[in-house]
Point group: C2
Chain length 377, copies 2
DNA sequence: ATCTGTCACGAAACCGGTTTCGTGACAGAT
DNA sequence: ATCTGTCACGAAACCGGTTTCGTGACAGAT
């Protein structure tokens, strides 16, 4: 009888649309939209009615339908750099789990792309922006002077750094306090009685390296020890580089009895170097590192390392980014967390002095092996 | 003078829209759309003109604007299971790189979510489908009876399995020929002279396990050897489980001189077990495994393993899925590839007989250690 | 009693695409 | 010369949302 009866069938696709909700309430769909988006020109009574009905009908707006008008699709962008030697590999699964969990909780999604570094990386990000596949980015592995941050700032696209930027400006970030870990590592070694403590830093192109070196120096200062530049080096981001760095440090006139590494993969290289020299890790040479990659548990003795909770980092970064996109001031979106010491067997009281080690290495023989090695003998 | 002059300004956002292209050509935007989508009611001449102009103006349709009408957003869905012990972790970065590269090349994107297994996994996938965040799914780590595949089939959502399904039906898949690798592993060991060869399979809930066991048996058959059920076991998906399985096999009346593992992480456990028994890996006990995880390079001796090219797998899966979504018959979208042998030092000619090993283990002492261990002595 | 301002909503335009419907132009058949 | 069918396109509706614009109803001031 009533000619205005529109079919209230819930659309062909089975999804509940905003029109379905509006029809069910007998109001305009624009009103429903404004009610759900907290426009001020909607009465509290209506707002409540709409909310309840939408909830009851299981209505969820389609992000990409909103995007066409708003330009935002509730998607977090993450571009992984794949041309660097496994740098982010071990944490990736946990990290993604953290990001995507937090995203899901806010009805956001995660768009992942991969790229080599440099121009390709920036092009990839621009494409995601242009195609509205990402409303903002999580920028992992911050560089000291990060072109990604520069680009996103120019384009006024929100982002959150995983790592602090020296040129802090107005960016949001989350970071693990690597400096505290390095400092604690030194103090732990000093307490064991180590006096000659070496440092193998990561690549100086990364922002974290300066920070970790500062932490190392601060630890030495607090322990009342001298930081000796002859047993400090940097740039070790692979096991091979870590081995090479270790050999260099150990070949110095006054070799260290303990080395602090800024990254685990480099520290793993110390095992090979120690083997070459016939030094026992954890006894002749103590090692403490940072990251907490699973390989720490594989090597013997296990590698003592400051472990980073990557899943938590992912979660926090996602939350900060979402708040950034929603308009909060980036300079209020900054957080830090601490790494946790996971003791292995790679550190302990020194069993040899620096002198003894130096003589031993010059002599080219070993302390511990049971089969004769090296030398002309 | 001409009242019909619409502003040809390229929109506020800077993007070129379909209307911009239509205006530039003086034709209707519907015509442009049909021309670009190869509708039959567009003349070749017009089609060419439109294509060229769109190209020249740098027009790219907005995937989510298309999605609102078509229901498709050119996005690949990938839900990672994060509650299983690191199973997919090591390959993840390469795998994502492969998927996302292939996706980018086709102007698709990759939506990643994570989930625990079971009902949560299915709910996560349904959410992505309902919100049009994925037009189809790559289903990694296929289970023998895979609830994800069942769900997607019911919903008529395209998907590609990474792994073959026993109940093949109409699904598309890509898989590495694990059976060939297992077979080759046995033949390699047989050529070294091994006769008692054990097998430690992965979890039987995974589809690959049956396939790899078949490959192992086929290898034994080709080598003219008896598969001995007392030195075959399954369910080892972690290093601990691999160590336990190795101990069991070695404690059998006729222990193996070589073991084939279906997965690397389990094989890594063999190192710990061998150490317990005082057996030298690669000499007293040969080990060959499968996956090619980076840890193979960390252990001593390096683990001989059949390496899977995860990036390639990701690429192939992405391509197959896209073709599936575009309407190609899934039963024509099936591919396999071979794993590549990466020899380490964990396999070689047997240095002891099964008997010698059995006696040794019963005696509870070791062959190789230089310090006395074990026994009451 | 009228005027003014605010409240709260409906109607309609809009975002950037796709798809349906209608029709003028032309060719070929009668 | 008219009729019929196909070709090739324009116009308009549509997808599911958001946002702008307009206006009736009511309250308070004059």
């Amino acid at each position: 009888m009533d000619a205005s009866v529109k079919s209230s069938a819930p659309a062909v696709s089975g999804r509940v649309t905003i029109s379905d909700v509006a029809d069910a309430l007998g109001i305009a769909k624009g009103t429903v939209s404004r009610a759900l988006n907290d426009y001020p020109d909607i009465s509290d009574a209506t707002r409540q009615r709409v909310r309840r009905k939408a909830e009851a009908m299981g209505y969820h707006p389609l992000a990409h339908a909103q995007a066409i008008r708003t330009g935002r699709s509730r998607a977090i962008g993450l571009v992984l750099q794949t041309d660097i030697a496994g740098a982010q590999r071990p944490f990736l699964s946990d990290f993604l789990a953290g990001v995507s969990k937090e995203a899901s909780a806010a009805s956001w999604t995660l768009t992942v792309a991969t790229s080599a570094g440099g121009a390709e990386m920036l092009a990839t990000m621009e494409r995601l922006i242009n195609e509205r596949k990402a409303d903002g980015f999580i920028v992992p592995r911050t560089f000291s002077d990060d072109p990604r941050a520069n680009l996103l700032r120019c384009l006024h696209v929100p982002f959150v750094l995983y790592g602090r930027l020296s040129d802090i400006q107005d960016s949001a970030w989350f970071d693990i306090l690597g400096e505290d870990a390095m400092c604690d590592a030194v103090l732990r070694l000093a307490q064991y009685g180590h006096q000659k403590i070496g440092f193998v830093n990561g690549g100086l192109e990364y922002n974290f390296s300066q920070i970790r070196e500062d932490g190392f120096r601060e630890g030495m200062r607090q322990a009342g020890l001298q930081a000796d530049p002859r047993i400090m080096t940097a740039g070790a981001m692979t096991s091979e580089a870590g081995a090479k760095a270790t050999r260099e440090l150990m070949s110095s006139p006054e070799p260290p009895t303990a080395i602090v590494f800024a990254v685990d993969v480099a520290a793993l290289g110390a095992y090979a170097a120690a083997e070459d020299f016939g030094l026992a890790i954890g006894k002749d040479l103590s090692v403490i590192s940072y990251d907490g990659i699973p390989e720490c548990e594989w090597v013997r003795p296990k590698l003592t390392s400051f472990r980073v909770d990557s899943q938590m980092a992912g979660r926090r970064l996602a939350e900060l980014l979402i708040r950034n996109v929603r308009g909060e001031d980036p300079s209020t979106l900054r957080e830090t967390a601490k790494a946790t010491l996971w003791p292995g067997g790679s550190d302990g009281p020194p069993t040899r002095t620096s002198d003894e080690i130096a003589r031993h290495i010059r002599a080219g023989d070993t302390f511990t092996s049971c089969e004769p090695t090296g030398g002309q003998a």
